[in-house]
């Protein structure tokens, strides 16, 4: 009898210890934590409420999913919406929704979610995202129809934006203004665990995640157990953190540090196409720039190739028009592209009556060609400005630099105090043309102070009278070409996005499937075992 008991005791304890050991092994394999430093443009977000916030960060894209996702080539892929159709007249869209999707608090995602979600935008700063939608109708639990106020070919782009990540409606409605501060409920691959403003955000894996988009190789729950997003404002400090292993991933590496990072054996660098350009708007209402010959000469005096080679060490690409190269509306007529032509620039200035004087500065009627060049207090922009100043000097234009902080400079623009300015934007949609050149926004953001009948007409057509996506591209291309031929600005440089990571601790997919490094890529990241 006793022997039997002993045997049973022995075997059960053996079984127990065996299971503990195996559990131990598997938990080591699953204990994947990564620390990520946010890029400098995403610091200081104070809430994870995508509907009410004006500033979001990468972590937001991990907490919430969107109906559609964009790939690096700007195409749209299904995510929470599995397919969609647009009516021929553009006045309605029908979306089929994914089945089996649940929010982090257990609420089910279906057509009712969408019906409750779209009106949430009313009276918020982001209301413009859904302004074209008149109403949402439920066709069946997994199909919704958007009845539109007007055709909106840009709808998919808005739906793919981080601001249109879908929050859990129960939680959103019950928490009101408090939503997004300590609680943020989405359907994303990670859940919000803790959030300290200005310091760090911790998200942990959503183990039930089974609905990744086709942009991720991993179609199940994320490999990483948790991700800590840190906010490090000083770039040298962020670089040192990566070097010492304090962080595993650095989003947004400044070009200065690229060469040193690439030289480190344990650091991997991914370079993606950029989502913006640096450019120099020309104030068309301020002499001598009211003369289009002078404007064109200014544009031709800038050497984009030299900027790319010497300031950015070949990283990124030249900018020769107003949009990023991956946008189809950027594919304009060859002769309209802006690039360096010193001889032509000098010739145009001569023709405009500005003769070269002693000391290398041109003169006209006894007045020297001295202009005001404004820029913001950002080390990259300041560097670019100094190089541009030197290039302008080469054609006899004496540009005097004044640096302002970003809020003050907008005031200066509105006061029409500027003549040239060096600035940049980050946006991957053609409607950026309307934002910066519309006659209704003269001063700021329309720093070129430009307005004319033809531009307004082309703008209106592009913004509100396009019914299909192809039409929209064509209309924006026409608008873009008119802007280029009016010489309202000088394109300077197209930055690339650089991401650095510690090869010894994390593995990152080689090709990033998206215009930015977001949740579809994070799902594929894993720790090195």
């Amino acid at each position: 009898m006793r022997h039997l008991k002993k045997l049973r005791l022995l075997s059960s304890s053996a079984l127990l210890s065996a299971s503990i050991v195996t559990m131990g092994f598997s938990s080591i394999a699953m204990a994947g934590k990564a620390t990520v430093a946010l890029p400098s443009g995403e610091l200081g977000a104070t809430s994870y409420d995508p509907i009410r916030s004006s500033k979001l960060n990468t972590a937001t894209s991990l907490i919430y999913d969107r109906l559609v996702e964009q790939d690096a080539d700007q195409s749209f892929h299904p995510h929470l919406a599995t397919s969609w159709t647009e009516s021929a007249d553009g006045m309605s869209w029908t979306f089929k929704l994914r089945d089996g999707v649940k929010f982090h608090d257990g609420e089910v995602f279906n057509a009712d979610t969408i019906v409750s979600w779209i009106p949430d935008f009313k009276d918020t700063e982001n209301a413009f995202l859904v302004a074209a939608i008149k109403s949402v109708e439920v066709i069946d639990p997994l199909t919704v129809k958007f009845v539109m106020e007007r055709p909106e070919p840009n709808l998919l782009y808005n739906l793919a934006s981080t601001f249109m990540g879908v929050p859990g409606q129960k939680s959103y409605d019950s928490l009101g203004e408090e939503y997004g501060v300590t609680t943020a409920i989405g359907t994303g691959p990670f859940k919000l665990t803790s959030f300290e403003i200005g310091l760090e955000t911790v998200v942990t894996r959503n183990d039930d995640y089974a609905w990744a988009s086709d942009l991720s190789s991993n179609q199940g729950a994320a490999h990483l157990e948790s991700v800590t997003f840190r906010e490090i404002p000083d770039q040298s400090t962020a670089f040192l953190e990566l070097k010492t292993g304090g962080i595993d991933l650095l989003l947004g590496v400044p070009t200065d540090f690229l060469s040193i990072l690439k030289a480190e054996k344990n650091v991997g660098v991914i370079t993606m196409a950029g989502t913006g350009i640096s450019y120099m708007p020309i104030n068309t209402t301020s002499a001598p720039f009211d003369d289009i010959k002078v404007r064109q000469a200014t544009a031709l005096a800038v050497n984009q190739k030299s900027i790319l080679e010497n300031v950015y060490k070949g990283v990124g690409s030249e900018a020769n028009h107003f949009l990023i190269d991956t946008l189809p509306a950027g594919d304009v007529k060859k002769e309209l592209l802006v690039s360096f032509d010193s001889a032509k620039a000098n010739g145009l200035l001569d023709k405009a009556g500005w003769a070269m004087g002693d000391g290398g500065v041109r003169m006209k009627d006894g007045v020297p060609l001295q202009v005001k060049l404004f820029t913001q207090n950002d080390s990259d922009l300041k560097r670019l400005t100094q190089v541009v100043q030197a290039q302008l000097k080469d054609v006899g234009m004496d540009a005097v630099i004044t640096v302002f902080d970003s809020s003050t400079i907008r005031d200066e623009y509105k006061k029409n105090a500027h003549q040239l300015a060096v600035r940049s934007y980050d946006w991957n949609n053609a409607d950026i043309l309307e934002w910066f050149f519309s006659g209704t926004r003269v001063g700021y953001p329309n720093v070129s102070m430009w307005t004319d009948e033809k531009s307004e007409m082309l703008k209106d057509t592009a913004m509100t009278k396009s019914t299909t996506s192809a039409e929209r591209v064509a209309n924006f291309k026409a608008y873009h070409e008119h802007i280029l031929s009016s010489h309202l600005f000088v394109p300077l440089y197209q930055p690339a996005q650089n991401i650095a990571f510690n090869k010894d601790t994390v593995t990152v997919p080689e090709k990033v499937r998206g215009p930015r490094f977001r949740s579809q890529t994070f799902v594929d990241i894993d720790v090195v075992k």
Binding site: G44, T46, S47, R52, S53, S54, K55, E125, N126, A127, F128, L129, N158, V181, E196, I197, G198, L199, E200, R230, E231, I232, P233, D234, S236, T237, A238, L240, E241, K243, T244, G246, D405, S406, S407, T408, I409, R410, D411, E412, W427, N429, D431, I432, W435, T440, R441, Y444
Partner: protein, 309 residues
């Protein structure tokens, strides 16, 4: 006497605070630029901008806006941040502990080390060692904060790996920032201590004690230092503003939050309620610190007690 003096000063704080609030409000609203431009995003319309401006009450007259704000403040409500979108009180409450930690510890460090060095400098006066001590004292305050911070990080965090490079995770992340700020404050404390000791040392009662045969050490520790500490304490009490808001550079390099960083970020975005609220809070803290310092001084200094009788 002391009580009456303190009460007088306490009552003075109210009208002074109101005056300061007007100055703060004016400065903030006269800054070029406005918060709405920091809120609007690509895709919004010019009408949206006007609506936003009205929503935050920015289209009303300055006077109306001021009274609205100060009325709220007097009921304890610092309002809602425009760009940062959270109650101002929440933002301040979140950042305050970090500032107190960093500022308080650095303050302690510079006070203790400063006093000790000040005593050493005084004790070694007229000897060759004095220059050495003085040079040592000066080291921390001759280099700009960001330079020292970077040096500290490179040496102690990157090369030696003793401390984390940045962040505010745990106490180890506090060491380097505290040292960086602390080193900068040593010179002031040391100088004040040394001068105070020199002054006290010359006084008649010290000569008397010498004559009575008391040993130099005893005189130093039982009479000189306690008397010398008073001006040190009063000066330190006045530096409360530095504790709360002076660590901006260090917070930036080390990636920590704090009141200074909050203020500067809000200033850059013209987030009026946050800037007004933080400045007002800072001013109040400073006035209370000054009051405490002055009361301490009055309690000890017979000349001032005479003046208030």
């Amino acid at each position: 006497m002391i009580l009456k003096y303190s009460l007088q000063r306490l009552l003075m704080i109210i009208p002074v605070s109101l005056a300061i609030s007007v100055v703060i409000f004016l400065i903030v609203h006269l800054l070029p630029g406005d918060p709405i431009d920091n809120l609007i995003r690509v895709g919004s319309s010019p009408e949206d901008r006007i609506a936003l401006s009205a929503k935050y009450g920015l289209d009303r007259s300055l006077i109306a806006q001021y009274f609205l704000w100060i009325g709220q403040v007097m009921t304890g409500d610092f309002g809602q941040a425009i760009v940062l979108r959270r109650p101002v009180a929440d933002l301040i409450a979140q950042n305050l502990p970090y500032s107190l930690q960093l500022g308080g510890l650095a303050f302690l460090f510079s006070s203790i080390v400063g006093i000790i060095l000040g005593i050493v400098a005084w004790a070694s006066r007229n000897t060759w060692g004095e220059q050495l001590v003085k040079g040592f004292i000066l080291l921390g305050s001759t280099v700009p904060g960001f330079w020292l911070a970077l040096l500290m990080i490179l040496l102690f965090a990157v090369n030696l790996g003793w401390f984390p490079v940045s962040g505010a995770r745990d106490w180890t992340a506090l060491v380097l920032p505290v040292l960086t700020i602390g080193f900068g404050g040593i010179a002031l404390v040391a100088r004040v201590t040394r001068v105070a000791l020199l002054e006290v040392g010359k006084q008649d009662f010290i000569t008397l004690l010498h004559a009575k045969g008391l040993s130099r050490t005893a005189i130093l520790f039982r009479h000189l230092i306690p008397h010398a500490l008073l001006p040190v304490v009063t000066i330190l009490a006045l530096r409360i503003g530095w504790i709360l808001g002076g660590a901006v550079t260090v917070e930036f390099v080390f990636g920590r939050s704090g009141l200074g960083s909050l203020l500067i970020r809000a200033l850059g975005q013209r987030d009026y309620p946050v800037v007004q609220g933080s400045l007002l809070m800072l001013a109040l803290a400073v006035m209370i610190g000054t009051l405490i310092g002055d009361i301490a001084q009055a309690a000890m200094d017979p000349r001032i007690r005479e003046a208030t009788k």
